[in-house]
Structure formats: C-alpha cells, structure tokens
Subunit: 303 residues, 2 copies
C-alpha cells in the first residue's frame, strides 16, 4: 500500500514541526478546565486537537517566515486560523449540513458529544479566533491586529466560508456550472487559505506586492487543493482520508470531477499549481522554496 | 389589557428613535443581494430585522452619548452588538437547543428557512460583528477598534454567551443552585449587555472609573433583566412576549423563580436595579438619567 504522504522528507519534517508547534499553541489557548461549563471546552479541544493536517497553519507559518516574523507570534495566528477551520468542520459535519459521522477517522464532534454542544463549540471557536488575533501578544501594533481581524472576518463570513457552505448546500438541489463551483470552492476553501498566507504578510508588515503575491499563490493553491479533493473523493481510500469517499457523488453535488471529468480535473490542478508557484517568483533566492514544494505536495497528496 | 410598554413617553421616544436608527444601520450593513448565496443573506436579514426590543443597542447608544460619541459610530457598534445577540437567538432556537418555533411572534429562522441555513446565518452574523468593529469607519484609532474586538470576543465566547448557553442546556438535566444560575445568566445575558455599555465607553475613550461604573451598571441590569424574564415566563402572556411562556418550567430548568420563589425574585430584581442605578452616580447632573430610567423600565416591563 502506498504511503498517504508524498512529501519529501525535508518538507515532511517542516510540516511535522509546524503541526507540533500549532498543536501546542492550541492546547495552551484552550486549556482543560473544571468550570461548570467544562463540557463546552472539552468539545472545543476535541474538535481542534484531533490530528488534522494543519495545512492552513503551515501556510501561515511559512508565509510569516518570509518576513522574519517571530515564530511564537506566527504560531498564535496559525492557531487562530485553525480554530476557524475546525469550527467550520464541526458545523459542516452536523446532521442538518453534511451529516458526517466521521472526521479524521474519529466520531465527529456532534457524535462524540451532541448536536447542541457541537454547535456551541463551533461558535466559541470562532469567537476565540478573534480574541487571539486582537490580543496584544499577537502584535504590539494595534493596526496590525485590526488588519488581521478585518481580513479574517471577511474570510469567515457571508462572503467567505459561510457563503461557500451555503452554496455547497444549495448545490445538492441544483446543478452548478464550472464558474459557480469555482466560486463555491474559492469561498469555502480558498478564502481561509488565502487569509493564512495573507496573515503572515500582515504580521510581517510586508509590502503590497508581496502580500498580493502570497494571496494569489494561496488562491490558486486552494483551488488546486479542492480539485484534488474531488479526485480523491472518487478514488481515495477511507483509510487515508479518515472519512467516507464518494460522498459528493451520492449527495448529487456538482464537483470539478463531475463537471470536467477526472483527466481534465487532473490537468487543471496541475496548471493551478504551476500558476501558484509562478506567483512566488517575487521572492528571490530560495526564500519561498517551502511554499513552492508545498504546492507540488498538494497535487500529489493521497489524503 | 395593559400595554406591554411601561416606559415613560420620553424614554419610549428615545427607545423608538434608537430602534429606528439601529434598524437602518443593520439594513445598510446587510443589504439585499442577488448573489448565488443570497439565501444566506436573506436569513441573516430575517433573523435581525424582526422587530426586536433592541435593548443592547439602546444601552450602547446611551453609553456612547455620555462621552459625546458621534451618533453614526454609536449606531455601527449598536448594530454589531445586535448581530451577536440575534446570532445567539437564532442558534438558541434550533431544535437541538431550545427547539423554539416562534421568536417575537414569528417563525424562528430555522422554521422560516431550514436548520442548515439558520446555523450558517448565525455564524455569518458573528463574523460580521467583528468585521464591523474592526473597520476604520468604527473609529480612526486602531487601538479603540482592537479594544472593541477583544471585549466582544470575550463576551461572545466560551466564557460569555456560549458558556452561558452550554450551562443553560446542562441545566435541563441537573438542578443548579442560585450561584450557578447567576453564573449562567451573567454569561448568557449579562456579558453582552455589559459589552454594550462598555463599548460606548471604549468608543468615547472614557476613563477607567467611568468604564467600570458602566460595566457594573450593566452587570446588575442584566441580572435584573433575567430575573424579570423568569417572572414573565411564569406569568406573561404569549401575545406580549411573542414566544411560548412556562417553557423553562416545562424543560425542568432551574430559574431564579423556581429557586427563590416569585416574591423573593421580585425583591431581588428591585434590589439589583437600585444597585445598578447607584453605579451611575459617578456621572454628574442628569447625564445618565436615561440609563437610570431604563433600569426602572426593565423592572416594570411586561414583554
């Protein structure tokens, strides 16, 4: 059986290091408690400390590194981004949404707890992300903190994550053309990945061209990620993905694969990854090599 | 039949003016749209433009007025606070939470739309609140905006609204003592009312004693509000409240009334209101008269 990881050993090491750092930051920001409402915090910990790939945190850390941002700060924003990502997964898995019993091979949060607790845990994680970003420990300059809050709010709200998930649900009842599928995925997956890269640039007070280049990179990467997700959904194995495959097909959702066919989808993902890498040419020397390598990894991943 | 409104005509006029201003601010921040995901925005509008009392926005506006804050800015933060309040109502009404079909006499959001849309509308309203607060239109000083975001995040998260609602749900299965009921209500109702008053002070760059006085006022007022809510729940009429009464009793929840009895609860509410008013003595002349009158109104309200 092939390994689900196709990253080079050096990229894998960097990713593992980031995963470890972010997990520690999450655990620190979400300590265990014996308050009367502890069940809520247990669910928040369950929904975030569950062995995710931490792709968005890794993007934020790599992006921040380009501007020599202090690693501790980078990990804080990485944790905040993961709070938003995990909140969206907890809510997406609910019976009234995607009705998914499994997440990363384990019972999803509403299965491990209950629906009400899962909804509240998601809500509280979203609020926590803004608490972390606006806290002075994130950056001494309040302008930087405000920029982060504003960009995350836009990525998470009706014109980002929530709008994307709304479209995803509407897509179960109507057939979408390629333009609408791209719109859906840019909102649902792309916006938060873009914020992850942008956050590193904001934290590093990067110039506009650098910030823009990272956003463009993340935008293409996010779309490539989703196209490969659609491909994996048709051919992946439960053991690698930790969730049932063929779900989109069963739900009657239009995907890149159902619209373009698998071969064309593969070609499109490759094109997007090449385009993503080209945006990074603005960073000289080998400075952006990890992000470039990551883009190739997204294409080759099996989980 | 007595009027549900017991406010003096001058207080009522001020409240009506604030309601009108906040409704316009909400409608401006949530314009109708024909985007493919319009259903989400329709639900957000439905859940916010539904004839609420706008008590929290009124608190924010009155508090901001104490420091001569520009009314347009006060209305922006008032709208943001109402977004959070309405998001919490939308989620609280869900079948897995309080399972309430009616809100303010009309079908609750998940009844008018569906559960998934209601969950997403709540999520997007929470994000929108932070988008509004962190936007330069709220205040030119990013330190002020960060302070607002930080305080709202704390009020909305696991140690505020969400924690309070978690306790509320846990209270269906276990009997709470008075201390835990107070904790629950301070988190679920008090924290956001306190933020409303605090937000006016933050926006007006008020001194610490003024800010503290307003927080203390709101804290007592919030608790008094909840005690009268419990009393109204036992004796109120559906026509005034726009929601079924006797619900807490049916759900087996411990309330102030079930724990202290109605007479003692009434006495406690009166004591809290007197205490709330005393905190405002720091504001000389008649500057805080509206807030004082509001406290008395909370006691006498019938809806």
């Amino acid at each position: 059986m092939p390994s689900p990881r196709e990253a080079s050993s050096s990229l894998q090491e960097k990713m593992d290091e980031a995963i470890d750092g972010v997990n520690k930051a999450i655990a620190r920001l979400l300590p265990e408690t014996d308050l009367p409402e502890a069940r809520l915090f247990d669910a928040m910990r369950y929904g975030t400390l569950n062995g995710g790939k931490r792709l968005r945190p890794f993007l934020a850390i790599c992006s921040a590194k380009l501007f020599n941002v202090d690693l501790k700060r980078a990990k804080r924003i990485a944790a905040a981004i993961e709070f938003v990502h995990c909140y969206s997964l907890i809510h997406d898995d609910l019976p009234s949404m995607d009705n998914a019993d499994l997440r990363r091979g384990k019972p999803s949060t509403h299965k491990a707890f209950d629906e009400a607790t899962a909804i509240l845990a998601g809500d509280a994680l979203l609020a926590l992300a803004f608490e972390v970003l606006s806290h002075p420990d994130t950056h001494e300059d309040p302008r930087v903190r405000c920029d982060l809050v504003q960009a995350l709010a836009l990525a998470a709200g009706g014109h980002g994550l929530c709008g994307g998930q709304m479209l995803d649900i509407l897509g179960e009842k109507e057939e979408f053309d390629l333009g609408t599928i791209s719109r859906l995925q840019r909102m649902k997956t792309g916006r938060l990945m873009t914020f992850a890269c942008e956050a590193g640039a904001i934290l590093g007070k990067a110039g506009e061209p650098q910030r823009k280049a990272l956003c463009n990179y993340a935008n293409d990467l996010g779309l490539a990620f989703q196209v490969t997700d659609d491909i994996l959904d048709t051919e992946g194995q439960v053991i690698h993905l930790g969730k049932p495959t063929g779900k989109d097909d069963k739900a009657g959702k239009s995907t890149f694969v159902s619209t373009m066919g698998k071969e064309q989808a593969k070609a499109r993902a490759e094109m997007l990854v090449q385009q993503a890498i080209r945006h990074l040419h603005i960073f000289d020397g080998g400075r952006a090599d990890t992000l470039k390598e990551l883009a190739t990894y997204v294409l080759k991943r099996r989980a």
